[in-house]
């Protein structure tokens, strides 16, 4: 029994300690005498009161000093502090950017004479445009952590004081992609082909060739195409001899599949501004007249062959028709986004069908293609392997009825 007493005390202490720690049971203390408690309170007050007084004076002085600073104008409101990487991606769609007019940042025209032969929005907005709202992202100590202000990489290739290398204008670092300067777009372009077809409609199939060099409105390709200027599509679309596209089917047939028939697309404002610079709406300063905000997308800059093994230069010269004879749907589209130069089967069966009136000698007909499909489950006269092994759609079956 004598030996059990210390053991019991130890167990009790451990139990109290555990309750205090895990169950938050307050520690029972023996009450101090009243005089002692009053003495302690007086001493504590004598220490804390001066500290609070000094603090209050300092705060009021600081507040008075702040009042002297003028309020920033709405356009100079600083962007909130946030992670530096957030500002490495420029988005036109951000709430603040959306609230601004285009010409709040983009000057129309920019200093164009050094960059273009025509007045254009040719360059990124200047530093002041960004700094007036993003001073914190450029100059605070936080901004210089690691590689430097991330906001610089919206336009500049590297963050360095003397780094002048910039991404091509119109292709800023718009998202956090691993490789920068992808051809990402934040706007789609409204272009009603039908309206333009109306105003350029002309009956003369052959535009007179100019003496000397021919002016190519849109691209840098040189056209020596002597063929007639059908349907005036060539006002904007030139023959593109420089485009290299992998042939559809390898080796044997590759030689017969020229890709030179692909046309250029207008890539500069020149082809728009020559009519829409001023007066003709939407005029040059009205960016929103053509550029409509959209979800970020990677534009397909080069044409991609996915289905038909068609060659414009084939057909023993018979494939040279007007562009819109086959590309029927193009003239109906109002926007350039998602626009495909698709050709309905109806345009092909005008000739490629068993019909004495329209079929040229030794032509491959759609009926023959169907016969081949029955035997081999492939439509390889007209289509690439991937598409040719699929079941012909109802539109094709209707075409042979």
């Amino acid at each position: 029994m004598v030996n059990d007493e210390p053991k019991r005390k130890v167990t009790q202490r451990i139990s109290q300690w555990a309750q205090r720690i895990f169950l938050c049971v307050p520690q029972r203390k023996t009450p101090r005498p009243l005089r002692l408690r009053l003495l302690m309170a007086r001493r504590l007050a004598s220490v804390l009161v001066p500290i609070f007084a000094i603090g209050a004076v300092a705060i009021s002085a600081q507040t008075r000093q702040r009042k002297r600073v003028p309020k920033p104008s709405p356009i100079r409101q600083q962007a909130p502090k946030s992670s530096a990487t957030k500002y490495s991606a420029f988005l036109h769609s951000s709430e603040k950017h959306q609230s601004l007019a285009c010409n709040a940042c983009h000057k129309v025209p920019t200093e164009w004479t050094a960059k273009r032969v025509f007045p254009d929005v040719a360059d990124f907005p200047n530093h002041d445009t960004c700094v007036r709202c993003h001073r914190q992202q450029f100059f605070t100590r936080q901004a210089f952590i690691a590689t430097g202000p991330a906001i610089c990489t919206v336009c500049h290739v590297r963050t360095a004081p003397r780094e002048e290398g910039r991404f091509a204008f119109g292709k800023p670092n718009s998202s956090n992609q691993a490789t920068k300067a992808k051809d990402e777009r934040q706007f789609t372009i409204e272009f009603p082909h039908d309206k333009h077809q109306n105003v350029i409609a002309s009956t003369n199939p052959a535009a007179p060739s100019h003496a000397g060099a021919r002016i190519v409105r849109v691209s840098f390709s040189i056209s020596d195409d002597k063929k007639p200027d059908y349907n005036n599509c060539s006002v904007c679309h030139q023959r593109n001899d420089y485009l290299v596209i992998a042939p559809l089917s390898p080796q044997a047939e590759a030689a017969t599949q020229s890709n030179k028939f692909f046309k250029t697309m207008p890539h500069s404002h020149d082809s728009c501004f020559n009519c829409h610079w001023k007066n003709q709406k939407p005029a040059g300063e009205d960016c929103g007249g053509c550029h409509k905000p959209s979800a970020t997308f990677v534009a397909q800059t080069a044409p991609k062959r996915i289905s038909a093994m068609f060659s414009h230069e084939g057909g023993k010269g018979e494939h040279v028709m007007e562009c819109t004879t086959c590309h029927i749907n193009i003239t109906r589209a109002g926007t350039l986004r998602g626009l495909t130069p698709d050709v309905p089967i109806a345009a092909c069966v005008t000739c490629h069908k068993d019909n004495k009136k329209t079929t040229y000698p030794k032509i491959t007909t759609i009926e023959e293609e169907f016969e081949q499909y029955k035997k081999t489950a492939r439509c390889t006269y007209c289509h690439v392997e991937d598409v040719g092994k699929k079941k012909p759609p109802a539109s094709h079956e209707a075409a042979v009825q």
Partner: protein
Amino acid sequence: MKKELFNSSVVHPHKAGFKSKLAGAILLFSFFLFHFSFFLETAHTQTPQATRGVIRLKIKYKSGEATKELPRKRFFLIKGSLEENRSLIEKIKQTATLLRECYYRSKGASAALIKWLNENDCESVYCREIDGKYLTGSEAVPEFKAAYDAVLRDFKNPELARRWLTVNLPAELREGFYKQKQELLNALLKQAEETTRTKVMSVMTDRKGTAYLTDLEPGVYTISNLVASETEKTSILWACEKEVKAVDLAIAMRRPVTLSNEKDPKVKCEIVERPLPVCEQTAK
């Protein structure tokens, strides 16, 4: 008891019958389910596609002894028969023909500009690039020269000035005719769409007077140019009815729908052909 449960060889005769019936029922159900799903798939993939197709339009006109194709003119496809669109047809018949030459003369355009437009049957100054020979020399167009000089003053670049000269042309000459025509067309299209409650489809003829109307469903349609098209000597307005059957959509490529200013008993058409008036020059 436990032993019986685990002894698989001992099966009650009633239970065996039930099992075979159940298996049969499952087999039958899956058989019907397979055929039903096959039917659904076929119906889903084929029915809507097969009922849509293309019609090929061919527009011709007889001028003197020759029959010509009408190039670069827009035609509209309106749902419904001529009778159903009667009020619209009457309205387009009564609409005064908007003639290009008369318009430009009324705006004081020079003879050289009118000649330049007529050369390529252009309705606007945008229809072809303006060559240097139209700025100076015997074929010079005064309006082009004035606009060229204005751009040259701004940009100091002769080539740029030539290519961009339309930006400095007076609005009436630049787009006035087109706008006036569009206003007229838009009013007619609005009426057509309100009457038929469907969108009006349109297509422009190519150099051979051919045009394709795609993604059509069978039905009765009115095909019209809504505003009379100018030819050499006359202006022609077409309003024709065409019943498009499902079978027509398949053979349309072989047998086009031909519209002509000559009478054809096979085609139900209302044609208004008027001689082109002599336009008066308005001094500006």
